[in-house]
């Protein structure tokens, strides 16, 4: 274990020196701040529109029936979650790729293995080092989120909101590590490193963007701008009644979405942050009692990644390919 920790420390330091990692880190941090700013500006614009509508109605002598927009601070993280889905996954791919590429390019794995280090220590060490690095990045993001929400809206996140935020970031870590493991596996498995990176991007494209996009565009409610059921003046119960008649279609759509780890991550994170209206102001336990299934899926993808990496590392040629 001690050897694995040594490798983990080396991995952490190497990544901190990588120019590309720093570029991606600054991109993520910059986007965190700007996405919160844009979301809060959108909320303020809604509030101004509401106030002017109320004023107009009052001048006309009518009683306003519109509800005032209510700020749920964690919902301001919608943009950030999208960036973690897309750019976070790329960050994972880059870390996984460079973690293997540097050893293959410099042929240092052979050297390490001349020392009393086991192959599994190498995988464990690299995994721990990169997980620690990502956890640090996500904690930095959490701090930035807390500060941005406080400075932009004046709201201080406390108690259950902080717990929800931290749980979302823990899930984000697991999600990004799935892509780290994918890139690490492919870089070990394939002879050409640049080809492995391109295949990673092709898989990333399919999992992160295409599958969720297909599910999203097949959603009947998304066929009309603003929502089909809203255009029919339907409430949630009526919507469910109608959709019950199209069970097979909905199941197929759901199946397409569930192939993607990104969709599971999105579903549970959006529920925890209250981005999905029905989960606003609900307790952490209530959300988990409904969305635990998505967390289990993320864990399964992670487990598959671990197994694949451990299996490939014990194959002799995987380490010596270049």
């Amino acid at each position: 274990m001690h050897k694995a920790v040594l490798i983990a420390r080396k991995e952490f330091k190497d990544a901190m020196r990588s120019k590309l990692f720093l570029v991606m880190l600054f991109l993520l941090v910059g986007l965190t701040a700007t996405s919160i700013l844009v979301s809060s500006l959108m909320f303020k614009a809604q509030l101004i529109e509401y106030q002017s509508a109320v004023q107009i109605l009052a001048q006309l002598g009518k009683v306003p029936t519109l509800q005032s927009p209510h700020l749920f601070p964690l919902t301001l993280l919608r943009g950030l979650m999208d960036y973690l889905e897309i750019i976070g996954a790329i960050l994972g791919i880059l870390l996984g790729y460079f973690s293997v590429a540097k050893e293959k390019n410099q042929r240092t794995l052979q050297l390490i293995l001349t020392r009393p280090v086991e192959r599994k220590d190498i995988v464990t060490g690299k995994l721990l080092g990169n997980a620690a690095l990502l956890a640090s990045v996500l904690l930095l993001v959490a701090g930035l989120v807390w500060m941005s929400i406080w400075s932009v809206t004046g709201v201080t996140l406390l108690g259950s909101e902080v717990a929800k935020l931290l749980l979302v970031l823990a899930l984000s870590l697991a999600y990004i590590m799935v892509f780290y493991l994918l890139a690490s596996f492919l870089s070990l498995r394939m002879r050409s490193l640049s080809q492995s990176l391109m295949v990673c991007f092709a898989i990333w494209l399919a999992i992160v963007l295409i599958l969720p996009q297909i599910g999203d565009t097949m959603d009947p409610d998304n066929q009309v701008p603003g929502g089909f059921f809203k255009s029919m003046n339907f409430n949630k119960d009526q919507e469910r009644q109608v959709l019950a008649q199209f069970n097979t279609y909905e199941k197929t759509r759901n199946l397409i979405e569930e192939i993607s780890v990104t969709k599971h991550y999105e579903r549970i994170s959006f529920a925890l942050l209250g981005i999905k209206d029905e989960f606003n102001d609900k307790s952490l336990l209530y959300v988990l009692s409904i969305k635990w299934f998505d967390a289990v899926w993320i864990a399964l993808f992670l487990l598959a990644g671990f197994i694949a990496n451990y299996r490939i590392i014990i194959r002799r040629d995987a380490l010596f390919g270049g």
């Binding site: 120019k19 590309l20 991606m24 991109l27 986007l31 700007t34 996405s35 844009v38 500006l41 959108m42 303020k44 614009a45 101004i48 529109e49 919608r78 943009g79 999208d82 960036y83 889905e85 897309i86 790329i90 880059l94 460079f98 590429a101 490193l193 640049s194 080809q195 990176l197 391109m198 295949v199 991007f201 092709a202 494209l205 399919a206 295409i210 969720p212 996009q213 297909i214 999203d216 565009t217 097949m218 009947p220 998304n222 066929q223 009309v224 701008p225 603003g226 089909f228 255009s231 029919m232 003046n233 339907f234 009526q238 009644q241 109608v242 959709l243 008649q245 199209f246 279609y249 999105e266």
Partner: protein, 311 residues
């Protein structure tokens, strides 16, 4: 003459690349699938509308008009706009990267330029090769779209023309990304960095800028039906949007693409679309020209004596 040989070699080499072929197959498969998804979703939503209508009639409520009554055959292919922006762009970056890196990785740059060939001829050959490969891809995609649409409904001559124009317009957009990939692969010392920088630029153009210009969340911009949110005039967001909008190339492409595929719900003639969308077209052409200039600048910096990657 040299340019023609290089272009020919480029086309043959790219078509032998396994990663390029993988992305090409994914792209063409999604082209076929987009017609089916569009048709299937439309068919289902019509049935859902019927079911909703019956429920409203039982309750004695007024039935709103079907919101998609004016949907045309071409609008069923609306997902293609998104697949061009996602898969097409990544394919273009990949082939641009491959084109720029091929000689450098093989270590033949010195040998190549010891022959009577100028940098301009070399670059022109590369650009011609990329244009041919991307042009063939778009032509194939147009063929797939036409065949799949014919299988699902009656396609008219107007629809075929609009599809060809749409794929021609997409070629302009994608060629920009291919040239971007080519530029960085000529100047970057690291193979992975040369691929990643254009990918980061693509990410910014596709997901980040639309959030500033149209208040669209990154994943929200992947739904071709989502209308752009109107940003209140006089707000800070409007000011940001005004500044950023000209650079939001993906949005210019999507806007004009949605007119060509009649996603807006109105069947316009090509002349009317070109008139209405002149600014978006100009933005995409400018994007291509800027990338072309970038390519020439990269080629000027390219050192033929030490251009090999492992020299």
């Amino acid at each position: 003459m040299h340019s023609r040989v290089i272009a020919h070699n480029e086309v043959m080499s790219l078509l032998r690349e396994r990663t390029v072929l993988l992305l090409l197959v994914i792209f063409l498969f999604m082209t076929f699938l987009s017609a089916y998804i569009g048709w299937s979703s439309h068919h289902t939503i019509q049935q859902i509308y019927q079911a909703s209508m019956e429920q409203l009639q039982i309750q004695g409520k007024e039935v709103p008009r079907a919101p998609f009554a004016d949907a045309t055959l071409l609008s069923l292919l609306k997902n293609m706009i998104i697949y061009i922006v996602l898969i097409g762009s990544l394919l273009a970056i990949t082939i641009g990267h491959d084109a720029g890196m091929r000689e450098r990785k093989a270590g033949v740059v010195k040998i190549l330029f010891s022959r009577p060939i100028s940098k301009t001829e070399f670059l022109m050959g590369k650009i011609a090769g990329l244009t041919i490969v991307l042009g063939m891809t778009m032509l194939l995609a147009a063929g797939v779209s036409i065949v799949s649409s014919t299988l699902l409904a009656n396609i008219t001559a107007h629809d075929v023309i609009m599809l060809l124009v749409f794929y021609g317009f997409s070629l302009l957009y994608l060629l920009g990304f291919a040239l971007l990939g080519l530029s960085f692969s000529l100047v970057e010392e690291n193979d992975a960095m040369a691929l990643l920088i254009p990918v980061i630029i693509w990410l910014s153009l596709t997901f980040v800028l639309p959030e500033f210009t149209s208040a669209l969340y990154p994943t929200g911009s992947l739904n071709p039906t989502t209308s752009q949110m109107a940003i209140s005039h006089g707000t800070i967001l409007q000011a940001i949007s005004d500044v950023v909008k000209p650079f939001s190339i993906a949005e210019h492409y999507k806007e004009m693409g949605s007119y060509l595929l009649e996603v807006q719900g109105s069947k316009l003639s090509l002349g009317e679309i070109l008139h209405l969308q002149a600014l978006n077209l100009a933005a995409v052409v400018s994007w291509l020209l800027i990338c072309l200039l970038g390519c020439f600048a990269a080629m000027r910096r390219f050192d033929t004596a030490s251009g090999d990657l492992h020299a």
